[in-house]
Symmetry: C6
Subunit: 243 residues, 6 copies
């Protein structure tokens, strides 16, 4: 285990408030999450139903990510609420990327859809909790079609001219500079990309339903799973949960 | 009965202006309503017709909420005007919610439509008084379709890009970034959600017309009903009103 | 007759500039009109044709209001120009209203159309003078359809999202958030409401043409008619005018 | 002849710069035109062709106005350039008007079209000189349809909501709040009103071609014609011009 | 030759920087061009191909202007770059115009198209160099249709309401206040006017191809041609160029 | 080799930070790239896959540019990341251009598409890395159609009126002043131009696949190729790479 002598007697704000003499790897992990996502809200009151929903949602993301070769590995998955989210599946890229192949983006769309797919298949419901996933999946699919020329129907063109409002110091809106006919085509392509990603996520989950239940159950029991835990659970080294 | 010693000889502004030595639960209830809704306007002149209309409107919300399993319990219902509203049906969730399942939202739409449904069925009229319910029901249905991906016709996508105007410190408008064809689909889905909720509310009221009359009559007599009163009236423990 | 001692030796600006020691009811009536509508412009030069037109216009409003049961009573009707209007029909509600039933609003639309209906039927012309009535009738009909859910074709939904521009301290515009197809439906419903109100006003006037002539003639002779005068004229207690 | 002692030894800027002791009516006429239209530009270089064009243009307005009963009388007509216009036909209403009947507005549209009609019929050409007439005729026709409810096809409704921008202290734009279908109807009605006015003006001029030539010729010779001159010329008391 | 004593020993900035005692007409010509177009850029590096292109472009404008009776005479034509343009054809109206007949404008459209027409016919290519001509030709054609009522299809109406933004001290935009159907008509008429002008320019050039070659060749040799030179070249007094 | 004595003992910021006494041509090349593109980021971590992708992308640009007669010569091509780009193909025009013929622009479109074409043909994928090429190709094609009149379908007109917002000191947006029908035509023409350029680039690469492999391999080995290197590689003077 990596340990580190604290380099100051007066620990920084993101360091664990304890009287430890040595920092462990877990302290860094906690510090990183605190900075990125906000403080863990362990005292937050969450109903059993919501907890179960969150567990299946995150298990869905995790399972889809693990089952598609070429997606970034799962660093950890947790249902400890932090900041504004009830749970989190954290992927960590193997290498720094500067450009993204279409195939990589398509995989990402499926992973993003994994949460809602699991909710729908297992719990037979959809919730507002997937709102952020839906926003991100739509944004990515739209960029694939309108900025990166990744739709064969529309070709290698950009659609929509960015309007920078200098006095606001930021880009405000993307102005529509195309016809209604093109707008229809764009909508169809974006919808197609998202629908295909959703169907793909559902198919993966249906074919690995035991692993999904195992992951969700493990999350409900242990709250956080590391990469190695996930691999063991999916491999069936952990007995299937009783639901 | 819970009583409490006032903790200061100089009562806060929202405390009852009386010379009580002890605060009762009712004092807290009043203080809460005052902060949330404004001062009760007991001296406001309201015609008998409007009072009767309000009673049936609130009875409609209450009845629909009570008859659909899984909606939040009614805390109280009142026709004492307060702030800008002539009456109020107050629901109190059992547990704190962070995400809302589609089913829960559909129930809410029906409860929101209960007021107008009662007016239409019993008094054979619609009034401007339901304007706020209509605004909320439309807003919720639109979010279900455009932000939370809850329409199967449109799929798990978001529609309309939020435009934040930083210099105003708030989000100003949702920019339409979809085609006219998609706009037609959205309108149809939003209208379908609201219409189905309205029909559902009307069906519930029609099947429980005696309870509606009883609730409205009780409201006209007693002005405010607590959860236990409501249960007793719906259960028929209170004789039906003569109208 | 109600008289009142002036409560100050220095009369307020809206009090009659006279050396009266006692205020009569008429002084209050004048003061109220002055505050609401502006100063009476008795010296304003108006052609006989315009005066006759105004008389029939106001008589139209008055007659329609009197003939539809359930509209607010006419307080007075006048063709003395005041502020920016050449004449005025003043209705006074019996009781304070906080909500408006659809039926009440439909009646109002007909009353608002009464002025133009009289002009068209008797003088066989339309003038710009009805511009303000037309604006109000359109605004009300649009709100019935788009804010108060009073069109069965469109259902209990709101259409058009209000955009508040905080820095202007007021609501600036209603943003269109619906499809062109819905816009067509809204236009048809608004037009239908106004057209039906117009036909209704014309029908009432045609069936009471003698009363219209009598009211117009009395206005040309006496300039202002009180509620009791109006009732007498419509009842035929005043001989029909010779035109 | 009305003369007037100047009331100050230091004449006001708009008074004739002369050493007159007495002001004549013509001095007032000049002063009024100077204030309303700008200084007369007698030294402005205008080609013979343009002068002839202007003469026929103004003669067209004048003739149409004189031939339609019920239009305001012509005070004078001139081809002396003043301010930004090459010529002017000045109508002076008999009585102050506060409202305008539809018939009066239709007449006005025809008078406004008289200038271009004359140019087209006699000179077989159209010029940019009629741009201002066209703008006014379109604006009036649009108001008849959209603000004054004078189109039977569209009915007594207003179309387009005015947007007042308070911080600019003025109304900036009329927001379109109607459907594309309604926009088509409005365009058709506005175009119909203008086209009918144009045809009417052309018909009047064709039926009084001698009078048009006489008026134009007189304008080229005398530059300004008063009401009495015009009547005499149209009555044929002045010999037809040789062109 | 007109000479003029300089009226100051300290010559103004736009006077030739030389030790001349007398100003010739050419000095005024240079001064005028400098003020209107910017400094002549004789040292600018221009490829032979571009020079040849420019010569044919300007020769095209010149030839079309000379061949259509009634256009303003050519004052001079040059391929010396000045300011932001590589060449210039300068027309000088015979008389000051205050209004423009439709025929005059149609001629202008053809002259404006003469440059590109020559490029296409002789060099079989189009270049970005005609961008400014195209912008002006479109603007003029649009004004003919939308401001000056010169399209018979659309009639004597204006289309598009000007929006003046007072706080910017200038007119910012022309607001579209017409239907999509009308927009289609406008586009068709504007396109028709420009296309007809282009065909007309091409026809004139094709029928006078020798003159075009002669003008272009003379420009390449002499850089600037005066009115008299142009007349002589077109009359064939100058031998045809060898290309 | 051109050398130059440094003209100051205190070298400017863009000069190589070394103790050289003499500047070589390479120092100027580096200084120019630094100013234009940013500092070379030799230490940037790039995966083998991305490096290979970049090599083929730049080789694609280079090959297309070299194979189309009349395009500007390649100055150098590199896969050393600099500023925000992973690689760069630098063309250097033979002569300064002030106008661009349509043919030259069409060639440019093909060169811009060469990068993505190579990626798709060899690596069978598209990446976000071509986003900037796509943006530029769309912008150029749109200008050809809408500003330079280079589409025969739309003719020599401009489409879209520029809106200058003076208070921002820059042009903000191009306002759409044409009909939806025209918008459809524009979209079709812009798409056609880009698609044809893409097909042309793909055809050139397919017909010179050996040269593409050779160029990419050379780039992976040497990182930067000068004009002479490129010519030698394409001529086959360099053995084909083993992949």
């Amino acid at each position: 285990m990596l340990t580190l002598k604290t380099w100051s007697t007066k620990p920084h704000f993101w360091l664990p408030r304890s009287d430890k003499d040595l920092l462990e790897m877990a302290d860094f992990e906690e510090a990183k999450d605190k900075v990125l996502m906000g403080t863990a809200r362990r005292s937050m009151v969450i109903s059993e139903e919501e907890k179960r929903n969150t567990a299946y949602h995150e298990a869905g993301h995790t399972l889809v990510a693990r089952m598609i070769p070429g997606t970034d590995p799962i660093h950890k998955v947790t249902i400890i609420p932090r900041g504004r989210s009830l749970g989190l599946t954290q992927q960590l890229p193997i290498d720094e990327k500067h450009t993204y192949p279409k195939k990589y983006l398509l995989n990402n769309l499926a992973v993003l859809m994994g949460g809602r797919a699991a909710e729908e298949l297992v719990l037979n419901q959809t919730t507002t909790g997937a709102g952020n996933d839906i926003e991100r999946v739509t944004e990515t699919a739209r960029k694939m079609v309108c900025e990166w020329g990744m739709s064969e129907k529309l070709g290698p063109l950009t659609f929509g001219q960015r309007e920078e409002l200098i006095f606001l110091g930021r880009e405000l809106a993307q102005r529509r500079d195309y016809s209604e006919e093109t707008a229809v085509l764009i909508d169809k392509e974006v919808t197609r990309l998202v629908s295909e990603a959703y169907e793909r996520a559902k198919k993966i989950i249906q074919e690995n339903m035991d692993a999904l239940h195992a992951l969700a159950q493990a999350l409900l029991e242990r709250e956080t799973l590391a990469e190695s835990d996930i691999d063991a659970i999916i491999a069936g080294d952990v007995p299937a949960p009783k639901l």
